[in-house]
Symmetry: C2
Subunit: 313 residues, 2 copies
């Protein structure tokens, strides 16, 4: 099961964190961009080639210390077809290097269409009655629950059939997440609590050997008080925690999504690792030519930071 593989990797690497691969063009060191733009042109192809080179450098440097990477699909789609090729090459390369790939696509639609999204990212695409092929074949996908269970069920079916996982948005890390998610129903529950109960219910048939489900949730580190409530409402859900680092969430904030056994959550950092070479804390030691070493140093610092906070629980 996906969730068992994820937990095995977290234990092996003693690291409940995931590196977000959100390759904004500004994040990529100049020497990589110059090389790719001069070889392929200053166009979407050149940008996509630079992304691949940058990502492979990051994957090489963190693959023995982090369990998973989380490519954010938006940052590939913005480079068009070439960007999608870069997503696929990044994802395949990460899996070859032993990393789990969480495709961050926040996909959602009515049931029949959710089936198609699930085939794209988790399952297989049927070409006729006998022939199937994999399209993107990630290990897990983030999904949006606005349409209710119809739109989630096809993903869960593929989770069970193909050992995959999903993380359902419950309480997101952004400032305006409360506009919908914090509304209180006439039964006195907030929307994020209602969604947490759904996630808990939807995940009960995909529970693995450690007691956690392959149907996880997304809860932002930027909302630690809500995280405490959500941790207790979704006992079996693994929580993907964005918002650590550049978005302002601390290790202590993120720790509320963990259980006392040190499991139950995985914390994402994107910009702080990808751009470590530019950070105040590292820029005396590293420069753009050593972006990968800087990323590794920051990933190690983050691992220690998160582990210390979990140990204080």
């Amino acid at each position: 099961m996906f969730i068992d593989s994820l937990i095995d990797e977290i234990k092996k690497k003693n690291n409940p964190s995931v590196v977000g691969l959100d390759p904004k063009i500004d994040y990529i060191p100049g020497f990589i961009k110059e090389k790719c733009f001069s070889e392929y042109g200053k166009n979407l192809t050149g940008a996509a080639k630079a992304i691949i080179e940058f990502n492979k450098g990051l994957i090489d440097t963190v693959c023995d210390i982090v369990p998973a990477v989380k490519p954010q699909l938006a940052y590939y789609e913005m480079y068009g077809i070439e960007g999608i090729k870069a997503f696929k090459e990044t994802s395949d390369y990460a899996r070859q290097k032993g990393l789990l790939v969480i495709a961050d696509g926040k996909r959602n639609d009515i049931g029949s269409t959710a089936e198609a999204y699930s085939a794209a990212f988790l399952g297989k695409t049927s070409l006729d009655r006998e022939t199937t092929e994999s399209a993107f074949d990630a290990d897990a996908l983030t999904v949006n629950p606005y349409l209710g269970f119809d739109g989630i069920k096809p993903f869960i079916e593929d989770c069970k059939k193909y050992d995959k996982g999903i993380f359902v948005l419950v309480k997101t890390s952004n400032n305006s997440s409360g506009q919908l998610q914090d509304l209180v129903t006439d039964h006195g529950k907030s929307i994020y609590e209602v969604m947490a109960e759904y996630v808990s219910d939807w995940g009960q048939y995909a529970v693995g050997k450690y007691g956690y489900s392959s149907v996880g949730a997304v809860v932002g580190a930027t909302y630690p008080n809500q995280a405490k409530i959500l941790r207790s409402l979704m006992k079996k859900a693994y929580i993907l925690v964005p918002g650590y680092g550049a978005q302002g969430g601390t290790a202590k904030d993120a720790s509320h999504s963990f259980n006392k056994d040190g499991l139950g959550a995985i914390v994402n950092a994107s910009r702080s690792i990808m751009c470590a070479y530019k950070a105040e804390a590292w820029k005396d030691k590293y420069d753009e030519s050593s972006y990968a070493e800087a990323a590794r140093a920051e990933a190690e610092r983050m691992r220690e930071d998160i582990n210390k906070a979990i140990n204080r629980l």
Copy 2:
């Protein structure tokens, strides 16, 4: 403005409907699949080539009678990179033929990431300070509001800057849409009403010459009673209405999303038009070799059906 172009086309063609291009492999006539599979292999490439041929035939046959097409991204992503190429080729071809393209992606994320999605589908992608390129360049995109205004704002900015549109999910057509959308808040409003008020508010600075906004909404034909309420709550929103035809919504159901001026909504049909050649009503007259003629006949029947229902308002 997008919304003015859409209304101009609706008026010109006297047709408030949109053809959904959701090319499931089962929908494609056997002779097209056989040709493409034999030329390119029974694989994702062969399937994508068949989709392109099928879609072009549909676009050719409806381009003078419908204002817009709505390719559903899931049905392209499921064929991987080749599927995305088919989406781009379909979209570009439709625009060349004078159709507006509503990319149905239901994208959503936090603000910085929503910017990237918006660049992908509506705006432009920056390669450096001076150079930008278009990635997919659709006319409009469907978006999911679970994350609140942060995740919607970048799309609205591109709507204004590049004459594009968005349709925000409010009340979706599927069975389980009520699990979240029908919950009632402690102020006595349903979630779909709250979202409608947000959409109304978000759209007020993107209103065109006909008094409608380029920030529209999605309201399923399968919920006519809710549609009546939503029509009155979102006075300036153009409503994209899925759920007509194969999903069970009638023209009368869909008509509640229109205003008395005959404007205010556009009704989608996908399967009933794409697979008209297989339908009980048309199969004596058409077969798979005349799938395009069947699609045109069904598109004309639908136009009449919707227009009659609107005239009864």
